[in-house]
Point group: C2
Chain length 475, copies 2
């Protein structure tokens, strides 16, 4: 018994720690129900609404969902479906009443049967199932209720009006509370989910598969075991995020613009990034399984490919990390381009290394696992590239900004161009890169002037990929 209670408490604790907004959500729902039920307690409101005011309570319980998008989806569906169903129900009642009092229930029954059957079937249509499933259900519900009760209640229009208005009160309460009191935006959650998935993959790659990929011999694996297993759990969750991403994207579609997300934010692009991330994750899983089982061989070839492989792995991780960072800050992916470039160079290096190995230098059995690992790493790099392209598309579609560091101010020249010189303070690996961001593109020629007393560097221009959205902050 004690164990059961302890278990229960641990579950609750975990739920709260994982996402404290769950507690807030529970209180929001309770608040909405309590607010709406006052309609019933207060005499003046009760006079107008009558017993129908209970529908407001019901609506709140049924419509209030965890994210604002889901609540909006259900609220809008319920409101519109009630309106449509009520109107058609009244129409059906009048149509049936034309056929005389005896035939009326039969005619009503037939109309309800046909409409219910076709509406139920329409719920199988993919597009309706995706967005309006709940609405169609409420439509059938309201239509049947109004049409049926029309048989005994005379003041059918008044009834329909009462019902509609209480449902609107309920929906409005839900939507207002869900949007105004600590809102949980499905869009923001989707954004964070995609970013955190990228970070999980990145940290696994950067750590070099828990110390295995750096080819540091077999003794290292066992010492890194706990670290690796936590990493493993982390990237496994990436593989199972499909359903969550799709439902969040679906609800995000209903949400108004909020924070840095506009009304027409390209939510679909997140699904693309998600697909590529899962692809990358499954390659990582395959390689990881292979390393666990087979990787015990040391050889001359292994020593040759060791360095570029470590580079490939860590640069792929850094690329993903920079992509995640640029998504976090809603800025164009710039740094990641460089890391991806280094990563691809490492791939070329390994390929060249293999090509240069003398014919017949090695034993097939000896080199087989090395070749497998290398080719799996190359697959991972390909996936990282796909993710990079998808995020670049997102940055273009969502008008991500060109971001300047906080301590750097753009240098303005009087010829109409503004040139900012940035140095990668936060990334010591890239000392030979200097980012030059051009604020206004001069009509004809472009002169780049580097100002300041920095270290010597190679003059290299990084293509910004989104020259149209160069609103530099603080300029």
């Amino acid at each position: 018994m004690q164990a059961l209670i302890l278990n229960f408490v641990t579950t609750i604790e975990k739920l709260v720690i994982d996402d404290p907004r769950r507690i807030v959500h529970s209180f929001k729902v309770a608040l909405a129900i309590t607010l709406v039920s006052t309609v019933y307690y207060l005499k003046p409101l009760y006079k107008d609404m009558g017993d129908a005011s209970l529908w407001a309570v019901m609506t709140v319980v049924v419509v209030f969902e965890y994210t604002a998008g889901a609540t909006l989806c259900k609220g809008m569906n319920r409101g519109l479906a009630t309106l449509l169903g009520g109107a058609l129900g009244i129409g059906a009642k009048y149509l049936a009443s034309l056929s005389g009092p005896k035939a009326e229930p039969i005619v009503l029954g037939c109309i309800i049967f046909l409409l219910a059957a076709s509406a139920t079937f329409s719920r199988f249509i993919p597009h309706i199932k995706k967005r309006y499933d709940y609405g169609v259900m409420i439509f059938i519900l309201t239509f049947s209720l109004v049409a049926v009760s029309g048989y005994r209640v005379d003041k059918i229009i008044e009834l329909a009006y009462q019902r509609l208005s209480t449902i609107i009160i309920g929906c409005a309460t839900c939507i207002i509370i869900s949007i105004c009191v600590c809102p949980v935006w499905a869009g923001e959650d989707l954004h964070n989910l995609v970013v955190s998935n990228l970070e999980k993959l990145a940290s696994f790659l950067e750590a070099g598969f828990g110390g295995q990929i750096p080819f540091e011999g077999d003794g290292v694996n066992s010492s890194n075991e706990p670290d690796k297993s936590s990493c493993l759990v982390a990237y496994k969750s990436v593989l199972n995020s499909k359903a969550a991403e799709e439902s969040l994207a679906n609800f995000a579609w209903w949400e108004p613009g909020h924070g840095k997300f506009g009304l027409y934010h390209p939510w679909k692009q997140y699904l693309k990034i998600g697909v590529a991330s899962r692809q990358c994750g499954s390659h990582i899983e395959a390689l990881n399984g292979y390393l666990d089982a087979n990787f015990q061989i040391s050889s001359e070839l292994r020593k040759r490919v060791e360095e570029p492989c470590i580079k490939m792995c860590s640069e792929a991780g850094t690329t993903l990390k920079e992509l995640a960072n640029s998504m976090k800050s809603f800025s164009c992916p710039l740094k990641s381009t460089m890391h991806l470039q280094t990563c691809k160079e490492a791939v070329d290096e390994v390929n060249a290394m293999l090509k240069a190995s003398f014919v017949g230098e090695f034993d097939i059995l000896e080199i087989t696992p090395i070749i497998r690992v290398v080719s799996m790493l190359i697959e991972i790099v390909k996936c990282v590239e796909t993710i990079h392209v998808a995020i670049e598309e997102l940055s273009e579609q969502a008008h991500f900004k060109m971001l300047l560091g906080d301590d750097e101010k753009p240098q303005v020249h009087h010829d109409g161009g503004a040139v900012a010189c940035l140095d990668d303070h936060d990334n010591q690996e890239d000392n030979d890169f200097v980012k030059v961001i051009i604020h206004k593109i001069p009509s004809e020629s472009l002169e780049i002037e580097i100002i300041g007393d920095k270290k010597p560097f190679e003059k290299q221009l990084v293509c910004s990929h989104c020259p149209k959205h160069m609103d530099v902050d603080g300029y």
Copy 2:
């Protein structure tokens, strides 16, 4: 406009052809709604129930789901939650009335707030979310409705009784129609889904990746293009079946025994098979992608591994096919064991082939793609083995039968053992196997007598793996 209508008609047609039960389901829902609404039309019934009879209509619309399991899940949840919520609601109303008429709405409001908040939070607990989510929602709904309306309605117990009885009428109508009229069993659907996924993988493997794996040169690919692309679409659907399998397994839990599925059918085991199938599918996808992109090399080594690779691929396919067949017929997987054995022998053969190749005989660049393809094929064989083990576990848990062919009768001997001799009439590849199935195991020694004038064969005993469940049909 015409195009729109045509498009719409095509969509509807496709929905009906894909699953004609959808039409039946629509009519079942309409029938249930119409039946329940007669409660309202018929005077004697209306007298008992009053306006509350509308709740029966509402219940039907909300509870009736596509599969019997889902309907049962929602129906049971709704019934029990209404009972519990109603009882607690009445309790709350009496508790509040003790505090005097002025404080009553305030006390009621507080109770509702606390209960709604904690019940809403409980919906986040994974176990409740999985099975009782709808029930908790209805509990909050009923509790709030009864507690709130108790403030103005005096005959609160009568109201609660009416509401409960109409909801029970609604739920019962749904459950009876959903189980008795052309039932759609979630369990059966799950079984069929898993079987068809195995078949899709099998046909892709048996066809040798649309003619690519047999290493028949590059010209063959293009001629097989349409055939291959249809195969591709088929196995891709395997990769996306996770959500469907999980929800079906969840609903199957609620279903009573039906057909060959007992009340305690091991539905969870299907999820295991599903996971292994998807794993296999993703390996196939990886290999397929690799073949599309890279496989252009011919070499001496390729010629050597060609035959065992073709064997590996086709035998893996046949194993899956036989596994699907044994699931279809609810019989122990026997034939598949043999094919898996052949498959593993082919793996050993390839490994030996690689081992025997002289050190330094080949160029690394030349053999890399061949080694990759071979090792991917080996991974696929491993997955097939996992599937095989999972299905054997299923056959044991679900008491699958040892199946005899229709035209074979077991031969009975007077020493207490019954020996049946089966010949693989339907599988011409296995002519050198004869299955011997022993019905009763004699206490001490076992003599096997082969009866009939069959072709010469090797005497080979196939372990049956499930000797406990040897109830031979027709004996």
